[in-house]
């Protein structure tokens, strides 16, 4: 903690970040800063300029003639040493790391040049001649190739919809966008011909299910793919899950070139050809009783995953499956989920991951329903929120909501924003002819994914034929050196969230030390780290399950230390307390032994250890959250372990002359369970909020009618900037999760889920329309006003 004495516990305190000193000095170690093997060569990728075309011919001779060029690997050559990337749902469309004969999106790799330096590689890439026969691209979601079509029914949605007093129908389109981290994709690949294996360094973020995907595509089994991620990563927001594909591409190129190869993606490549959120059309019917009870929901979803169904997609569609009813106790839910291919870049993880899309439909419907029913939006929500005494609450689709007090959060946000005064001010403003609107939304924010939810893309019969899938575990290692130095090794691949700080807080509490005494290693090496398929940093899993692994390892190590100390101090293990670097007997602080002495004994004189204790002090262990079973025969799935709650209210004013939207006030109340470090929490919330406001007002990946991406630089893709982020009043209540070790839940995605629809609802209210599309740029809002 900055400038104060030790708190009662480090966990929960605003401990300063252990990451900062190096980063501030410019001594962070990002992957482009690495030269892990000597003699690295540099790659540039030749990419398709067409959204759909046949490759007629590739001529690499001019490129190969350029001095300093070692190799030009064509898609066909790359395919000759790789296999198609395995997909969650097999389709007729084979997906190789580079296109063999047909390109399906602008930016798809068709060849890779390897040269002495990046400048030469780009020169040579420009000399690779490719003849294309352009084909008609498919861009309309409703005309896309359907690769998965599943229907779900829970309760009696047809009967309930039939009996409903009011059915609110709407079509809600959510745009493609991207978290676009400031550091682009980087991969270093070093193929070893001596044993046919690959060592790859990549700023990958997990999930490590994709390690298996990459290994399979490279034809590697067992330990054939050693994947190393650096301790520093320049942001990800889900996007860098897709780096796994670059590992395959560059692994194959390194093999073909017989050289270690480094590839650093440029921003144009990143914005056009790396990854994207899904685009989604949701037709939603919401049925209400006469007094506003939400009785049924019927979703009809078309999910655009781009040119290939790339693992882990269609995960975006199923991540929220347990939460199709949102924060409401709606018993009857139907859903039809169609996954379609279009000639756009394949999709993958992106902050919010299905949540922004789901809640844009559901909470828009709630806002429109309030208008139709003539019930105040707050009252309508209150009428339907899951009651605080019903937790743990099992949703019709199978999620187990762990804890919450949704009404208290609602009361809190209304007080924070001064709701009644805002409504009065709106009335006054309207009387003056101003377009002021108020919007709200309630969002359940799942965290710690059950890897099994992806199998909902298959029918129960298809699932029954294979290995049942669940999985949410995380591993960690803690060791104490002979001189009592403590090192924690993470498998959570942080990208800025402060995992090292929180790990140091947890272990400092357990060992009676200060966070500054704990060294935390965030680099992950699949040959040495304690990882599993669900390892990594996605779906806000650190605070729930990453910490559980650290806590469990620390608890086991502390117990071992206390046993050795008890032997030394001739007391019972349970009477030993660890504090200030010493182990002492409760109530007799003079009877104590230093950690250094205990560690020394474990390393230098292991023969003397109490029975059953092994030499050294190193613990590797895994933790798993409860309840996350495979999907059942009725397609119910506990899709996540923990569920936070977020309720937001926004007040906006629309400029009558220009259509521009100004956010006058914004308040958000979170319940993320126990807060582990309140300052890190605020950082996550403000960051997630900025992304949410960005997609509400300006951020969108745009394609023209020929499938050309038009937002390929930061001059066209408008990341939200400092003057555009509105003031956020953020507050918290805490209902600890009974399913996570420290009671904490994920919280970095909630406002990315809520802000787009909250702002949309406020604009609806201001302008007086039901249907609108994001982002709410001034020309679009202008058009809405014309229509209203």
């Amino acid at each position: 903690m900055i400038g104060s004495a030790s708190p009662p516990t480090w966990v929960g305190s605003p401990v300063g970040r252990v990451e900062d000193d190096a980063l501030l000095r410019g001594k962070g170690r990002f992957l482009d800063d690495y030269e892990p093997v000597p003699g690295i060569w540099h790659a540039a990728v030749v990419r398709s300029p067409f959204a759909h075309a046949r490759i007629e011919m590739i001529d690499t001779s001019a490129a190969l003639d350029l001095p300093g060029v070692a190799c030009v690997a064509t898609g066909e050559e790359i395919a000759s040493v790789t296999r198609p990337l395995p997909a969650v749902v097999e389709t007729e469309v084979e997906h190789f790391a580079a296109a063999k004969s047909l390109v399906r999106y602008v930016g798809e790799p068709v060849a890779v040049v390897v040269a002495r330096d990046r400048y030469l590689a780009e020169d040579a890439a420009a000399l690779v001649m490719v003849d294309y026969e352009p084909l008609e691209p498919v861009l309309d979601l409703e005309e896309g190739l359907v690769v998965s079509d599943r229907q779900f029914s829970y309760g009696d949605p047809d009967g309930a919809m039939e009996a409903a007093h009011v059915v609110v129908k709407g079509r809600y389109s959510f745009p493609r966008w991207t978290g676009s981290p400031m550091e682009t994709f980087v991969t270093i690949a070093d193929w070893d011909h001596s044993n046919g294996s690959l060592t790859a360094w990549a700023n990958f973020q997990g999930p490590f299910t994709l390690h298996a995907v990459a290994a399979a595509a490279l034809g590697l089994s067992g330990s054939g793919l050693r994947l190393i991620t650096p301790g520093d990563s320049g942001g990800s927001f889900g996007v860098k899950a897709a780096v796994a594909n670059a590992v395959v591409l560059m692994g194959a190129v390194s093999r073909l070139a017989g050289l270690p190869v480094k590839w650093v993606e440029d921003r144009v490549e990143h914005l056009s050809a790396s990854s994207s959120s899904t685009g989604r059309i949701t037709d939603l019917e919401a049925g209400f009783s006469v007094d506003g009870e939400l009785v049924a929901l019927r979703y009809d979803v078309i999910e655009d995953v781009g040119a290939y169904l790339r693992a882990p997609e269609p995960a975006t569609l199923y991540r929220m499956h347990g939460s199709l009813g949102g924060a409401y106790r709606v018993p009857n839910i139907a859903a039809r989920n169609r996954v379609v291919l279009t000639n756009r870049v394949p999709t993958s993880l992106n902050r919010g991951f299905g949540g922004p899309q789901l809640y844009f439909a559901l909470e828009s419907a709630m806002a429109n329903a309030a208008g139709r029913l003539g019930i105040d939006r707050v009252q309508l929500a209150r009428r339907n929120l899951i009651a605080s005494d019903s937790f743990p609450y099992t949703t019709p689709t199978g999620a187990v909501y762990d804890s919450g007090d949704y009404e208290r959060c609602l009361d809190d946000v209304l007080e924070t924003i001064g709701y009644n005064d805002r409504v009065a001010a709106q009335t006054t403003a309207r009387a003056e002819g101003r377009l002021v609107g108020i919007g709200m939304a309630c969002v359940v924010e799942p965290s710690v994914s059950n890897m099994g939810y992806i199998s909902l893309a298959e029918t129960p019969e298809q699932r029954a034929a294979g290995l049942p899938k669940s999985g949410n575990s995380e591993g960690a290692t803690i060791s104490m050196s002979p001189s009592a130095g403590v090192v924690v090794e993470l498998s959570t691949t942080p990208q800025g969230q402060g995992h090292k700080t929180v790990a140091a807080q947890i272990v400092a509490d357990q060992l009676g030390l200060s966070p500054a005494d704990i060294d935390v290693v965030a680099d992950l090496d699949t040959h040495t780290s304690a990882w599993t398929i669900s390892s990594g940093n996605y779906s806000s899993r650190f605070s729930g399950i990453g910490t559980a692994a650290i806590h469990k390892a620390g608890r086991i190590l502390a117990e071992r230390i206390r046993r050795i100390a008890a032997d030394d101090l001739e007391c019972a293990t349970e009477d030993v307390v660890l504090k200030d670097g010493r182990a002492s007997v409760i109530g007799s602080p003079d009877a104590s032994v230093s950690l250094r002495r205990i560690a020394g004994r474990a390393h230098w004189n292991p023969e003397s250890l109490p029975d059953g204790l092994e030499a050294g002090l190193r613990v590797t262990t895994y933790a798993s959250a409860p309840n996350l079973e495979p999907a059942d025969a009725h397609d119910r799935i506990a899709s996540s372990a923990a569920h936070g709650f977020v309720v937001d209210v926004a007040v906006v004013e629309v400029d009558r002359d220009t259509g521009s939207v100004e956010i006058l006030a914004y308040a958000s109340t979170h319940d993320a369970g126990t807060l582990l470090n309140p300052r890190l929490v605020e950082g996550q919330i403000h960051g997630g909020f900025a992304h949410g406001v960005g997609v509400a007002l300006m951020e969108r990946l745009v394609y023209d009618d020929d499938g050309n991406p038009k937002t390929t630089t930061f001059m066209d893709y408008l990341c939200i900037t400092a003057p555009e982020v509105p003031d956020l009043k953020s507050s918290h209540i805490e209902t600890p999760s009974p399913f996570t070790t420290l009671g904490a839940k994920g919280l970095g995605e909630g406002n990315t889920m809520s802000a787009p629809v909250v702002i949309a609802n406020a604009v609806r209210d201001a302008v007086g329309v039901d249907e609108l599309e994001l982002p709410l740029t001034a020309p679009r809002v202008w058009a809405l006003m014309e229509q209203a």
Binding site: L23, L24, R25, E183, Q495, G496, V725, L728
Partner: protein, 159 residues
């Protein structure tokens, strides 16, 4: 190839460079000063910002040959071995960084900005920051860090 002589962080270097070599690549890969980061290579994100003769500049939009005879300062020049620069401390105290990739560029821009603009308002700081993209923080903590530094830095030497 052209020979250039440039002073970087107080040390003078004479190097042969291709005329097309970007200053950002020269700093990172020739001099090994990897604290300067490259986020877009088209001058929008601001990650690569350094000081040239004391003024903030995009090193990705500058050729190495353009700094012939000039003084360049990068993020590595700010802290001493023992102590962070007060601006860096203010970033640490305000939790003004997460992944830290955009941070070096913002630090250098803020040095120049506070040097030129005494007691800036938060709105003026946000306006300056509009030339920098940060995807992690939502900017509010960065604005606060620069604001606090600007209020505490009057009379500080060399900042």
């Amino acid at each position: 190839m052209a020979e250039i002589t440039v002073t970087v962080n107080g040390r003078t270097h004479t190097e042969n460079v291709e005329p097309r070599l970007l200053l950002s690549d020269f700093i990172r890969h020739r001099l090994g000063l990897t604290g300067t980061h490259v986020g877009c290579e088209h001058g929008v994100c601001g990650s690569c910002t350094v000081l040239i003769d004391g003024r903030a500049a995009r090193s990705c939009l500058t050729l190495a040959i353009q700094v012939e005879g000039r003084e360049v300062s990068t993020v590595e020049s700010l802290a001493s071995a023992d102590e962070l620069h007060p601006l860096q401390k203010s970033f640490q105290e305000n939790f003004a960084l997460q992944c830290g990739f955009c941070t070096p560029g913002i630090l250098m821009a803020a040095c120049d900005f506070v040097d030129r603009r005494a007691d800036p308002s938060r709105e003026e700081i946000a306006e300056m920051l509009s030339g920098h993209l940060c995807r992690c923080t939502g900017y509010v903590s960065i604005i606060e860090a620069i604001y606090e530094f600007s209020r505490n830095s009057s009379g500080l030497e060399g900042s």
